[in-house]
Symmetry: C2
Subunit: 222 residues, 2 copies
DNA sequence: ATAATAATGGGACATATGTCCTTTTGGGAA
DNA sequence: TTCCCAAAAGGACATATGTCCCATTATTAT
């Protein structure tokens, strides 16, 4: 995965043809370590980010200081697109969970080179529409189902191949699901008593996907 | 308000220049009575709706049969835009709350005439981005604040000029806020005991906006 | 006016969830 | 090994919210 080039990534995601040479020239590859922050809510944004390696955590602090985790992002997701369209300050805080590589695309180049590009506008439209649907789904899910269902959904979504949850801290997990750490623990303990998972010092292993799935139904966190 | 023409409405919302003659020809004005349904979730969609008079209620039934009210729409809002972009079946059910007039714009005309129109794409992009932000805000608000805050917010949002809430049924209100009818009643009763509102047979009058606002802070329902 | 009926309001109770704080555990320092 | 500390788990209690069902009030038909 190391030392790939911008054009390599663009190629991989079938984006090379959409961005003209001059735009590609302006792109910058940036790699950051896990834990480092890309930007914070309230700052002004001048860059669109395309995540190409690693994992990002999007969060937001409420006026009262309570943290909500809004999403985890995986490669090929865009960040800063809403702000690009609305020309507004950054809404959320984004930090790298693992070592992460992004392609930075300055707004001003996009503005100059891409504003009249229907293919690009169409692409952006689809991207943002998709985000909207994800958000809708997440919201419906939160309003509709209690914490246990959401926890199960999260576990299933986060362990697509592997059965052991990678190092998401339980606190982050609680903040994503929208509950307290205490309550998350309670629910996880129940799951363990049912024999659906094994928990050991914060690492969770899903041992009975089928039961989890049957009990819980759908799934949100992409 | 009666007997306005399509071009009259387009004029009013500064949309006449964006839509070429041929597209405007294909538009249809439709007026429906309060309570009637425009379409239901799961159906196929072939029309974009521009709401120009009245009020629409957007709702969704969960697989378990629980109803969520997702939004109330007021003039100049679009409905069916997400489905247009994603070319997918209708996600939600939309019905008129009051007598309502919409402009129907068939997808196929848009497809043929507008796909390459950057102004239109830009416009759609902004519309949907705005929807995304509204949804985000609503979701954060739901996750962050308890029912009483949401109720206060709703009351404030729904009585911008008038102090008496128009005839939203309390059941709809509960479904929009995402709580049970019973609990909504409880909260409203508290508000009444505080002297912030007066409730009489389902009609609510806000008597102390300031206190409501102070107690509750922000606001979502547009 | 009176009775029947539907809409509204509320009591009682169970459960889900949050907050605060204590206990337990595992791992490293001495 | 033993002790100490931070991370993790859990106990106790308060509150928020949901469910079920009954009481109350308005509305309509007779």
């Amino acid at each position: 995965m190391e030392n790939e080039t911008i054009s390599g990534y663009l190629e991989r995601y079938h984006l090379s043809t959409m961005f003209p040479e001059r735009v590609q020239q302006a792109m910058q590859l940036e790699t950051v370590a896990g834990g480092s922050r890309l930007f914070s809510q309230g700052e002004n944004s001048n860059t669109l980010y395309l995540l190409v390696e690693g994992k990002l955590k999007v969060s937001r602090l409420s006026p009262e200081g309570k943290r909500l985790i809004l999403a985890f992002k995986s490669p090929f997701d865009f960040v800063g697109d809403i702000e690009y369209v609305r020309k507004c300050p950054l809404i959320n805080t984004v930090e790298a969970v693992t070592a992460t590589t992004v392609i930075r695309i300055p707004y001003d180049v996009l503005e100059i080179e891409m504003t009249g590009n229907t293919e690009w506008l169409q692409f952006l439209l689809e991207t943002i529409t998709h985000k909207f649907e994800l958000k809708s789904h997440a919201m419906n899910f939160s309003l509709l189902y209690a914490v246990d269902v959401r926890v199960a959904s999260y576990l299933l979504a986060m362990t697509p191949d592997d059965t052991t949850l990678d190092s998401t801290s339980l606190i982050d997990m609680a903040d994503l699901i929208g509950t307290s750490y205490r309550h998350l623990n309670r629910v996880l303990k129940q799951f363990e008593e049912h024999g659906w998972i094994v928990k050991k010092r914060g690492k969770i292993t899903v041992t009975d996907r089928t039961s989890l799935l049957e009990q819980m139904g759908q799934n949100i966190y992409e």
